[in-house]
Amino acid sequence: MSWKFDEKSPIYAQIAQHIKMQIISQEIKSGEQLPTVRELAEIAGVNPNTMQRAFSELEREGMVYAQRTSGRFVTDDKELIVQKRNELAELELKNFVDNMTKIGFSIKEILSVLNTYITEEKLG
């Protein structure tokens, strides 16, 4: 089954984001070898050049590195992964707070409903 892509951004950026998420969530482990461009292009149902571009993007960010003969690997730099994880968390928090503010919640109210929500979810 091919991956699904949304309308708004380039496909390579969506793939890069997807793989980054897999690395941050440790679905793909630090130091693990990645499939080849061609394998992954076929799985995702995208053009190999697009997949290549996604990998270049991840290399640029330092999330993956290429070894000349043996392929591509996820970074061993655990600190970088933590840093990217924090960046992502911050972005999620910002979106959440922005949206809540937009629908009229004060910071105090946000904290209160968030607290209630988490408690109830845990119990439920």
């Binding site: 708004k8 496909i11 061609r38």
Partner: protein
């Protein structure tokens, strides 16, 4: 790097109707290119000019250094938008024919593709549904090791599952030195596999570029950009 396909000021009219209007273009090897346009925009005419099935009124077509000729038929694998299969033949007979005719045809590859698509090569072509006939033609075309594949509406009549398989076959077949031109108006289905897109309207190129760059620039899918360009 020399382009695989070059068009120089190419023009073609049918009586007074202009079909292709002064198109110039250079396409490199190693790309999957979408030739997109509404009905009557000139896609099939352009493809026939590249294949030497029509003669241009003006301009030139150069493929890997050759004008359309026997030399270019050896390196172009072409899927026309109509069927050319003889109804009275078996799929197997078509494999024999292609094997005999094209040096670059891989029978093994064709047989594997047929198997994956659940087509029995002992079947008579007249007993196949329209969609299955299309699949057979596509298998024949993709089983060649060509430099340029030209697919005119390859997925129009096939079901979505086969469509996915066909698109994967096209990706699989991709190599550094071969390019694939896919003409279609079913853009959303093929969008993820495209490198480059060419929008054709009234015989002219109105937009050309890297598919992801266009998505980035317009902030929407190629399909949406297409709708915008052709409804205006």
């Amino acid at each position: 790097m020399t382009p695989l396909l070059q068009l120089h000021h190419l023009s073609k009219s049918y009586k007074k109707q202009v079909a292709i209007d002064d198109i110039s273009l250079a396409l490199p090897a190693g790309k999957i290119i979408g030739l997109l346009g509404s009905n009557g925009s000139g896609k099939t005419t352009l493809i026939k000019l590249i294949n030497g099935l029509l003669q241009p009124d003006k301009g030139d077509v150069v493929i890997n250094g050759y004008r359309p000729s026997i030399e270019t038929k050896k390196i172009i694998s072409y899927l026309p938008d109509t069927t050319y299969l003889r109804e009275g033949m078996k799929i197997k007979d078509m494999l024999d024919l292609f094997d005999d005719f094209y040096e670059d045809f891989s029978r093994e590859k064709a047989e594997n593709l047929l198997k994956d698509l659940h087509l029995d090569d002992n079947e008579m072509l007249k007993n196949l549904s329209k969609g299955n006939k299309e699949k057979v033609q596509l298998v024949l075309v993709m089983a060649r090791k060509a430099k340029l594949y030209i697919l005119d509406e390859p997925i129009g009549g096939v079901d979505p599952a086969a469509r996915d398989y066909i698109l994967k076959t096209i990706i699989n077949n991709y190599s550094e030195d071969a390019s694939v031109i896919i003409s279609t108006h079913l853009i959303s289905d093929i969008e993820p596999i495209l490198d480059e897109v060419i929008f054709l309207k009234e015989g002219k190129i109105i937009l050309q570029g890297n598919a992801d760059d266009i998505r980035e620039e317009y902030g929407k899918s190629i399909d949406s950009v297409f709708r915008e360009k052709y409804n205006g």
